[in-house]
């Protein structure tokens, strides 16, 4: 202001030193990123997901997304659709928790973080499972079912089922959007699923827990809206 050319004439604040200014901008950028990601602080990653899980999941997703009828939509189409939406969207890739999963009973547990005051609207949730034939037969016709686990065996809810030829190893997708939305609506932070396969000779073919490149994963596309803004609307 003193020279008449430095700083903003309407700000009423002196210009900062160059180094101080950049440091301040970076600190503001850090706060802004955490705020936009709905995080109070940076996540403390003590035991990250192994790179093999991550690479396999991203490679499968790169090919496209799954429509309601089970066909695949190219990513570019979905991104154009997302661009038209105003709310910020998230795509969550969650791997089955090996500590909670029970491979013998084909149970899968997925953990989610949810801040208080946030409302998740699930656009689509797809479970990716790798099936492998355990026999030498060229192919077997099987029916795979995914249930939402209840407190008792009888309380479970069928979310999705699919018939296919079980040949050599291949990935299959199951749309479970409704079930995941119900879980988030209840405020739960865990999605517990049970798998069943009619025609599979051995339940151990499901899930492949512990196999790094064939780890089951759940892909959930969500829009986050803050609850107070919904009430206001």
């Amino acid at each position: 202001q003193t020279s008449g050319d430095a700083g903003c004439p309407t700000c009423g604040m002196p210009a900062l030193e160059k180094g101080t200014e950049e440091q301040l901008l970076i600190e503001i950028a850090k706060l802004q990123i955490l705020s936009k990601l709905h995080l109070k602080e940076r996540p403390n990653i003590t035991d990250p997901v192994p790179r093999a899980f991550l690479n396999a999941a991203l490679r499968k997703l790169h090919a496209g997304r799954v429509r309601q009828d089970g066909t695949v939509e190219l990513n570019s189409n979905l991104e154009r659709q997302n661009a038209r939406e105003k709310d910020q969207g998230y795509e969550i890739i969650s791997f089955a928790d090996p500590d909670h999963g029970d491979a013998a009973k084909s149970g899968l547990t997925f953990q989610f973080s949810k801040e208080r005051g946030m409302n998740f609207h699930i656009l689509q949730s797809t479970l990716w499972l790798y099936f492998k034939s355990s026999s030498e037969a060229p192919k077997e016709r099987v029916t795979a079912k995914v249930f939402l686990a209840g407190p008792h065996q009888s309380n479970r809810t069928l979310l999705s089922q699919k018939q296919f030829d079980l040949k050599w190893g291949s990935w299959h997708t199951f749309l479970i959007t409704r079930g995941v939305q119900n879980i988030f609506d209840r405020g739960d932070k865990q999605v517990k699923l049970v798998l069943e396969c009619e025609g599979c000779q051995d339940l151990a073919v499901l899930g492949s827990l512990g196999n790094a490149s064939h780890q089951p994963f759940l892909v959930t596309q969500v829009r986050v809206r803050e609850e107070h803004s919904i009430q206001k609307r």
Binding site: D5, P48, V49, Y90, I92, Q111
Partner: protein
Amino acid sequence: SLDCDTNINLCCKKDIYVSFREIGWQDWIIAPDGYHMNYCMGLCREHFAGAPGIAASFHAAVFNQLKANGIHSAISSCCVPTQRRPLSMLYFDPSHNIIKTDIPDMIVEACGCT
């Protein structure tokens, strides 16, 4: 939009790169390695603030014509972002899930005068 250099004190875009490695966030942000945050700085003199491509909007261009003719001359013009784009991020959340999202308006691409 002008890019700032040592010889420019008019409204311009200043490049600043935030490296996630340098701020110690590389363990939870998978991609990208960093991003060009950028910001706007510099003066918006009367003759400059209404120039095509520099005026932040058509409204700014019209308003500067009024100022040039002595109407509302006490109101000054500021250098602000006129084009922004989102930042795509892939990161681990506290439950070790992998999340992909686009944060809107994170990267300043052009600056102009209000």
